[in-house]
């Protein structure tokens, strides 16, 4: 094939196709420009800042210090601690998925008032994060909280210091996050369930499969694209947990037991005014998220089934 052969083809596509092509570009432009301005630029900026000892006030480029911030980060016990906390919170992702799927299966039928029920489960998702976090702060209150009142009523003994104890505070945060995200997984699983053709179940039933077999071998694999989506968004969101901590345990918890990576980098950048160090942490975090997401996409062939 030589060039002269290609040209006429290209010319031919012009007019109509070209117009469409340009319209396409025009529609792509706003999000693309948005991406450049609000994503690409900040990422590059954060990377440059992460190579400096910028404190937000002095001239950033005068403070160049190479990879010092990253080296320091590797030896920063507090960083590993908050990274650990962040990962522990992610236990809420599988818990939320299992609960979501179970509830979605339960709701995937015609019962009276099902719409009311679906709405109820979705309310936490559309509520303001700050407002519901304040609400849950009271639920978790040691003496006057709903949870401990129930525990006292049922067992007669005092419940744990939910937000004040190094271990329980993590349990509290996981409970809160699962509660907050449950509506989303239910809705998505419901949509996934409704997309599974009935014949699959009928065929399997004729072959003698029981309820568990149907769930295990048809439902679970066929909603795996939803599971995959929830996993990806859950992990990305999980690494960025911040508001919940800031509202419910503004000190970061006893001995920093509730703090997350973003909480720590926020404190470093804005309270201790170590913008450079904070930026290094932010950049490293985005790298971690990028790598984990890439691995997930690679691994999806192994377990994500489609109906084709």
């Amino acid at each position: 094939m030589n060039v002269s052969e290609v040209r006429p083809v290209k010319k031919k596509m012009s007019k109509a196709a070209l117009t469409e092509h340009r319209w396409g570009l025009a529609f792509v432009a706003p999000p693309f420009i948005g991406f450049l301005l609000f994503m690409a630029f900040p990422i590059v900026f954060a990377f440059v800042a992460s190579l400096t000892k910028w404190n937000g006030m002095n001239d950033m480029l005068d403070q160049f210090c190479g990879l010092q911030n990253y080296v320091k980060l590797m030896g920063d016990e507090k960083f590993w601690k908050v990274l650990g906390n962040t990962v522990i919170y992610m236990l809420g992702i599988p818990i939320g998925m299992i609960l979501g799927l179970v509830i979605a299966v339960g709701m995937n039928r015609k019962i009276r008032g099902i719409k009311v029920l679906r709405t109820l489960y979705y309310i936490p998702v559309v509520s303001s994060l700050v407002a519901v976090a304040i609400l849950w702060m009271w639920v978790f209150n040691y003496d006057y909280g709903l949870l401990n009142s129930i525990i006292k009523f049922l067992t007669g003994s005092h419940g744990p210091n939910w937000l004040g104890d190094e271990t329980w505070v993590k349990v509290s945060m996981i409970i809160f996050m699962v509660w907050k995200g449950l509506g989303t997984s239910i809705i998505l699983y419901l949509a996934g369930l409704q997309g599974i053709p009935r014949d699959y179940y009928e065929a399997a039933t004729i072959d003698g499969a029981n309820g568990w077999n149907l769930f295990r071998h048809i439902t679970v694999p066929l909603v795996s694209p939803v599971t995959f989506y929830l996993l990806i968004t859950g992990l990305i969101g999980g690494f960025q947990v911040f508001v919940e901590v800031l509202v419910m345990v503004p000190s970061g918890g006893l001995d920093y037991s509730a703090a997350t990576v973003v909480f720590y980098l926020y404190e470093k950048a804005f309270t201790s005014r170590q913008m450079g160090y904070g930026s290094a942490m932010a950049f490293l975090l985005s790298l971690i998220i990028f790598v984990i997401t890439a691995i997930n996409f690679r691994a999806q062939d192994k377990w994500v089934k489609t109906m084709d």
């Binding site: 340009r22 000892k53 040691y142 210091n161 004040g164 006893l254 804005f270 201790s272 005014r273």
Partner: protein, 461 residues
């Protein structure tokens, strides 16, 4: 080419939008009718904001011919520094904002705030009548704060005094504390034990002798024991001394051994401040900014008065003083007007009568003007025009210093940031709830604090 036009139009609009957004810069500091405008960013509590809003309105009306509008943005003390750092980073500082003595050097070195000295000289404004110790904390000579040119005018100077609930003392048939003779630690424990009780007979303590918020009420013990968090040059963490450890031990013993304060868990469910307001604690602290609230029967329906913090080995009752000042942004378009405004807020006699309660009855601070504070203000307290507890002298004694009591700034007032001390208070509850010993805690935390402090000093060198 219709499409090309659409694309071109789109790009043009985007760019124009960008230009307009940045273009605002050139019109900054002016209203549409060509008058000046000022942006002011402060943290104020509810009581304060009401009074300060009125003062700022009044100032604007008096200068209506030149100043078109004053935009007052109010935040909370917790949020203030974060937002300000954001403003600095973005290069869009308001004309007037707060600076604490701890930040003067940093703000000046990085060119954020204006030297007020030439403006004050030109306008013939004298600062001689103000409290000089406080004023000097806003002076900077290019190497250290304390002397040199003036970079801020004090908004206030505050004292964090101790207070007691008279009603609980009456109930227990106890004598009131002497405002000029502080309790020793042992006396304090004895009194507190008599005030700690189960009032409703359900087997659980619901009234305590005292309540202590670590981050504000451990200093008094430390300093009164002759210890401190930092060395005199503020470069070395000195919590590893026997004096410091003893002070911390005695502090946590009140909770663990003598059991005269709410436990850490109880504190988590209802804070010590709320418990004081609910009449559950006989002793609590009272900052000068708290007086109006505590005198308001809707907030605090009890009789109360000021007293002194208990003493440790030095026998001298100690507490901390605070101050925050108004400064003018070096980038301000309207520095003259901004200086006029802060001068009015800081030193205008009528304004000071207002905030101290001489005219309003509700006191949120002591007047900045010494003559006013020690004359008219005390008279107004004596004749009842200002709602104030009768032992108001406690405040002045702490501020001026006597042989039995004294006040000083917190150590973090002199360090580039407060991360090093936050590390301490973040985990001191481990000692207060008995899960770690004083020695173990200090051995663990002191090196971390030192590393953080070194870094802080390093970041400004």
């Amino acid at each position: 080419m219709k499409l090309k036009k659409v694309v071109a139009l789109f790009l043009a609009v985007t760019m124009l939008g960008g230009v307009l957004l940045t273009g605002c810069g050139s019109k900054e500091g002016q209203t549409a009718d060509g008058k000046k405008s000022l942006d002011v960013f402060l943290y104020l509590n509810d009581h304060e904001s009401e009074i300060y809003k009125n003062m700022i309105d009044k100032f604007q009306q008096e200068h209506a011919d030149t100043i078109g509008e004053i935009n007052l943005q109010i935040t909370t003390q917790e949020e203030y520094l974060t937002t300000l750092t954001g403003m600095m980073t973005a290069g869009s500082l308001p004309d007037v904002f707060y600076v604490g003595p701890e930040s003067v050097k940093q703000f000046v070195d990085n060119g954020y705030i204006e030297d007020l000295t030439p403006y004050l000289e030109e306008k013939g404004i004298s600062t001689d009548g103000l409290m000089q110790d406080v004023l000097n904390s806003y002076r900077y000579d290019g190497t250290a704060t304390g002397s040199g040119d003036l970079y801020a005018l004090p908004k206030d100077s505050s004292v964090f005094a101790y207070a007691y609930n008279k009603d609980l003392f009456d109930e227990a048939g106890l004598e009131y504390p002497d405002p000029e003779d502080p309790y020793t630690y042992d006396e304090f424990v004895e009194v507190c034990k008599k005030l700690t009780k189960d009032t409703d007979g359900d087997g659980e303590i619901d009234q305590w002798g005292a309540g202590f918020a670590n981050a504000f009420m451990l200093y008094q013990f430390v300093w009164s024991n002759g210890a401190s968090f930092l060395s005199d040059d503020y470069k070395t963490v000195t919590i590893d001394t026997p004096e410091f450890k003893e002070a911390l031990q005695k502090y946590v013993d009140l909770t663990l051994v003598h059991k005269v304060t709410p436990t850490v868990e109880q504190d988590a469910s209802l804070g010590v401040y709320q418990r004081w307001l609910a009449g559950q604690e006989a002793f609590y602290a009272c900052g000068t900014w708290d007086v109006a609230a505590f005198m308001d029967p809707e907030t605090f329906p009890y009789n109360w008065d000021l007293c002194l913090f208990p003493t440790l080995s030095t026998g001298k009752s100690m507490t901390y003083l605070g101050t925050v000042g108004y400064c003018v942004s070096a980038d301000s378009e309207n520095k003259e007007e901004a200086v006029d405004l802060i001068n009015y807020l800081s030193t205008d006699a009528d304004g000071q009568r207002e905030v101290s309660g001489i005219t309003t009855g509700n006191s949120i601070q002591i007047p900045n003007i010494v003559e006013l504070a020690e004359g008219e203000f005390l008279d107004a307290i004596a004749d009842g025009t200002v709602k104030y507890p009768s032992n108001a002298n406690v405040i002045f004694n702490y501020m001026n210093g006597t042989d039995f009591c004294g006040g000083r700034f917190m150590e973090s007032t002199y360090t580039p940031n407060a991360e090093w001390i936050n590390l301490f208070f973040e985990s001191v509850d481990k000692v207060k709830n008995g899960s770690t010993s004083v020695d173990d805690f200090i051995a663990e935390i002191a090196p971390q604090m030192q590393a953080s402090l070194d870094e802080a000093w390093d970041s400004v060198s």
